[in-house]
């Protein structure tokens, strides 16, 4: 018999480690490239629609990035990228789109209602709940401070 602490040490010694340097470089490069694609989309929008306001450009930019993230998830390419890039593909807004689309695709065999629609928010749910609650708290405090 080995005690709990010894066992935990054994587990942490033997579980697969993600190679530190390689994953860091991959996350840096992929994350940087995704942000550059976003910036490029913004610049192209500014070229096509010259009278568009800065705010609208930013909104369109994130909408297009979300669409692209969703689209490449549907093609099955984004998960391959995620396997290689880790944080580089999770943290950009495309990763958020991926976290919505991926469970929706995964569970479509369980039906539209309780498969796609319910399971869509398995990962994105906490993000939306935390985000909306945080924004309410900010607004609530702001209302009394300002």
């Amino acid at each position: 018999m080995i005690d709990r602490i010894e066992y935990q040490k054994y587990v942490s010694d033997n579980q697969p480690k993600s190679p530190m340097v390689r994953t860091l470089i991959a996350a840096f490069i992929v994350g940087g490239i995704i942000c550059c694609i976003g910036e490029g989309i913004g610049d192209i929008l500014k070229l096509i629609f010259k009278d568009m306001s800065e705010k609208d450009v930013a909104t369109w930019e994130s909408c297009i990035m979300i669409f692209l993230g969703s689209f490449f998830t549907a093609l099955g390419l984004y998960d391959k990228l995620g396997h290689y890039a880790g944080g580089g593909s999770i943290i950009p807004i495309t990763g958020f789109a991926n976290s919505v689309t991926s469970p929706a695709m995964e569970y479509n065999r369980e039906g539209v209602f309780f498969g796609i629609c319910a399971k869509m928010f398995v990962i994105a749910g906490p993000i939306i709940v935390f985000g909306v609650t945080a924004s309410f708290i900010v607004g609530f405090i702001g209302y009394f401070v300002v």
């Binding site: 530190m20 994953t23 860091l24 991959a26 996350a27 840096f28 992929v30 994350g31 940087g32 942000c35 550059c36 976003g38 910036e39 490029g40 913004g42 930013a58 909104t59 930019e61 994130s62 909408c63 990035m65 979300i66 969703s70 689209f71 998830t73 099955g76 998960d79 880790g86 944080g87 580089g88 999770i90 943290i91 950009p92 807004i93 495309t94 990763g95 789109a97 976290s99 919505v100 689309t101 991926s102 469970p103 929706a104 695709m105 995964e106 479509n108 539209v112 796609i116 869509m120 990962i123 993000i127 935390f130 985000g131 909306v132 924004s135 900010v138 607004g139 609530f140 702001g142 209302y143």
Partner: protein
């Protein structure tokens, strides 16, 4: 040359943000939902403290494309809503600021969920 420098800044800052996330993943074994929530709240805090605006001026999409931009939009929307509509703005402002992005994500997720079959078993 100017444009090259802009993209270099976007690449470096965006890459750095993702690099920090990857360090968190490697060191703490957090799941991707936790990482995303952490970054979102960081965006909210940065926006409220006023640090996000200079970062946006410096790196553009390098900070707005990571999920921090989503958080900062939520906080900014809530504060703008308060200034415009009082308490109702505090309730509705955050969501209306991110409504376009959220709707795109849900509609795309639903449509692609209907037409595409999952290729990987990983969620």
């Amino acid at each position: 040359m100017e444009i090259f420098l802009t993209y270099l800044k976007v690449f470096a800052v965006g890459g750095l943000v993702c690099l920090i996330g990857q360090i968190l993943i490697n060191k703490t074994k957090m799941s991707s939902a936790r990482i995303l929530v952490l970054y979102l709240l960081a965006g909210v805090v940065l926006e409220v403290t006023g640090a996000f605006e200079p970062m946006k001026q410096f790196a553009g999409s390098g900070v707005t494309i990571p999920i921090m931009g989503f958080g900062s939009n939520l906080a900014k929307g809530a504060l703008e809503g308060v200034a415009e509509k009082g308490f109702m703005g505090a309730i509705a402002g955050g969501m209306s600021a991110v409504a376009a992005g959220l709707t795109t994500a849900i509609v795309c997720g639903f449509i692609f969920g209907l037409i595409a079959k999952s290729r990987s078993k990983k969620i």
